[in-house]
């Protein structure tokens, strides 16, 4: 079946190739289509720079703000305060300041630019295989149970693995789907707009070192600017001292408000690291003893020291998405001729076409949904899962539902929800709860930013389905919409049938 499709696709490829090269048959082992790197065909909502070396989230405005704040504050410090301090006290002060500043900048860029641990989406073969297994498990009755979950026992604790409808995989434990970036991320901590990226398995240690060193830098600058003003005012009087270095006033203000949030955040993440939890898990209280006597964290290594070492100095896994690799062309490639079997290249080549087909299917799906939305708006009890909007972003009713202004109803977690609902909830829970969690977990550098705005999207920014059609309806749009439009039970079977049909289409 697969070969049949790839053959027919290959015919299209051949006709394309013949316009580019005159002898398509001469070099059977070379790529004939123009080389395209995998990042160019990446299905998530990320931005890539430097030919795939740098990877960031789509919205990077706040990241530039972070950068500007750090650069301006440190610039002012080095220009106006350091000369005085170096003279009056010791020249080591600017040196330490410089080292801290470089470290902060390095870790910030490393956090922002690296792959957080994105899980590549399933190939269509895998997806079809999973669908088949789920069919077998459910039996052939008309009614399908809505959530797709798998239970697994990890170190004595039962953990539910949820199926991601966008990525078509059962998410590994601790992974979560970020609806802002539209990717499943391993050991998902949270999506941080300040660094313009998700924080996950591969960049958590950089993120932690960033906030830790930023705490030190902020305290350092704060302390020494105050010292400068005090020393200066001893000589010339307080007001003259302030007039002499107005920059110091600005620095003090910025640092004062930053200290509370950054130091608090560092403390919070130190706690998370030592107990080996993610922000997500902590907010949900997944492993808290309040849930039950036997509830404990199965991922913890037992003691604080091992947990810290593992998080900060453990082996750094490589990126799974291979951004700079080339998308395999359809022609079979002689990877390693093992007894004449040359299909090895072809299995990879199918991936690129599966991507195209996948896009095609997604777009068809969304066209159908867009067509169906006027009908569904009348239904009152749809389980709809959506990203939050700024209007009601602050009004988080416990953690059980997110409501988008408009015709949609909110989704109480008590219902048998399609599993895709929870990932966007969890992602946003992680981000939504940040502003109100605890006392210091404000995650904001300057005070000016209203805290609640960080993680909410305006309706314009609400992500449309992966790169394809923009539905345009007010019903918000994440990948989860497809599961949410129908009533459970009968509509779910409809939905599952259509998804299955489309998946089968792709695998034929």
């Amino acid at each position: 079946m697969h070969l049949g499709v790839s053959e027919s696709m290959r015919e299209c490829e051949y006709s394309q190739i013949s316009t580019r090269s005159s002898t398509p048959m001469e070099t059977p082992y070379k790529k004939r289509t123009p080389k395209k790197r995998k990042w160019e065909a990446f299905p998530g909502r990320n931005k890539f720079y430097c030919d795939g070396r740098i990877m960031m989230a789509k919205q990077t405005g706040v990241f530039y703000l972070t950068l500007v704040l750090i650069l301006v504050t440190c610039g002012l410090f080095f220009t106006f305060d350091c000369p005085y301090l170096a003279q009056q006290l010791t020249p080591i002060i600017p040196v330490i300041g410089g080292v801290l500043f470089l470290f902060v900048l390095g870790t910030l860029l490393r956090t922002s630019f690296s792959d957080p641990g994105v899980l590549p989406r399933a190939t269509s073969d895998e997806a079809a295989d999973l669908e088949r297994q789920i069919d077998v498990a459910n039996g052939s009755t008309g009614y399908r149970p809505p959530p797709r979950t798998k239970e697994v026992v990890i170190n004595g604790q039962t953990v539910k693995l949820k199926y991601c409808f966008t990525c078509k995989i059962f998410r590994p434990p601790r992974a979560s789907h970020c609806s802002l970036c539209d990717n499943c991320v391993e050991r998902f901590d949270h999506h941080c707009p300040w660094v313009g990226n998700c924080v996950g398995r591969r960049n958590y240690r950089f993120f932690y070192m960033f906030i830790l060193s930023l705490s030190f830098l902020t305290i350092f600058i704060f302390a020494f600017v105050i010292t400068h003003i005090i020393l200066s005012s001893h000589r010339n009087g307080f007001l003259k001292a302030l007039k002499d270095s107005p920059a110091s006033v600005l620095e003090v203000v910025v640092c004062f408000f930053s200290v509370w949030s950054i130091v608090g955040l560092s403390g919070f993440h130190t706690y998370l690291i030592s107990s080996n939890q993610t922000t997500n898990e902590d907010i949900k209280g997944s492993w808290s003893s309040k849930r039950g006597k036997d509830n404990y964290n199965p991922y913890s290594h037992g003691n604080i020291f091992t947990n810290c070492c593992a998080a900060l100095c453990g082996p750094l896994p490589p990126s799974l998405i291979d951004r700079r690799g080339f998308v395999q062309s359809d022609t079979p490639q002689l990877a390693s001729p093992t007894n004449g079997i040359t299909m090895y290249g072809a299995t990879q080549s199918q991936q690129s076409h599966m991507c195209d087909q996948d896009q095609c299917i997604q777009s068809t799906k969304f066209v159908l949904q867009a067509a169906a939305t006027p009908l569904l708006q009348q239904q009152s009890s749809e389980p709809v899962i959506l990203t939050a909007s700024p209007e009601n972003g602050v009004s988080l009713p416990g953690r059980t539902s997110l409501a988008l202004g408009g015709p949609c109803t909110s989704l109480p977690l008590g219902q048998p929800t399609p599993p895709t609902s929870t990932p966007s909830l969890s992602c946003h829970e992680a981000t939504d709860m940040l502003p109100i969690h605890g006392h210091t977990h404000n995650h904001s550098h300057p005070l000016q930013e209203p805290v609640a705005h960080h993680h909410f999207l305006t309706p314009e920014e609400v992500p449309s389905p992966p790169g394809m059609l923009h539905c345009g309806s007010p019903l918000g749009h994440s990948h989860t919409v497809q599961a949410g439009f129908y009533n459970p039970a009968s509509q779910d079977s409809l939905h599952e049938d259509s998804v299955r049909g489309l998946v089968k289409l792709s695998s034929v």
Binding site: G4, E7, M25, L119, D125, P173, C313, G314, S336
Partner: protein, 144 residues
């Protein structure tokens, strides 16, 4: 689907099906694959052989992710050099991944290809599955 392809294409064995060996999360988030023998391979392969391959892969991945003095040292050294050291040298994980690639190639050549099967390196599937491609029987003759 007209057969207007090069000679090489006609020699290619047809893919009959693919079997996916999923991850085993019972020990946490470390990379492990299930050693359960898939029923589709029963006619082609020994159960024990398959389990040995998967177990060897599991051991290699465990070695890559092992927490120990060596990995901590590497982590600390990397941190101190602001991770610039990785411009010159590979991480331990990457070294083991190369080892795994060689092992899979070796297994394919010796055991799987003669039986009309092909193992795909899990890293190409994002470490989600071990994909075993089953080729139609007729390919074995023409494959040699």
């Amino acid at each position: 689907m007209a057969e207007t392809h090069s000679l090489q294409d006609l020699q290619q064995p047809a893919v009959s099906s693919k079997v996916f060996v999923q991850r085993d999360y019972s020990s946490g988030t470390i990379c492990r694959f299930q050693t359960k023998f898939p029923s589709e391979l029963e006619s082609r392969l020994d159960k024990q052989q398959f389990e040995e391959t998967i177990q060897a892969l599991n051991n290699l991945y465990a070695e890559a992710e092992k927490l120990g003095g060596k990995s901590y040292l590497e982590g600390c050294l990397a941190c101190l050099t602001a991770y610039t050291i990785f411009l010159c040298m590979e991480t331990h994980y990457e070294k083991v991944l190369k080892k795994i690639a060689r092992y899979i190639k070796d297994q394919n050549e010796k055991i799987y290809a003669p039986r009309g099967l092909l193992l795909t390196d899990p890293i190409e599937r994002g470490l989600r599955v071990v994909e075993v491609t089953i080729f139609e029987d007729r390919s074995i003759g023409s494959g040699r």
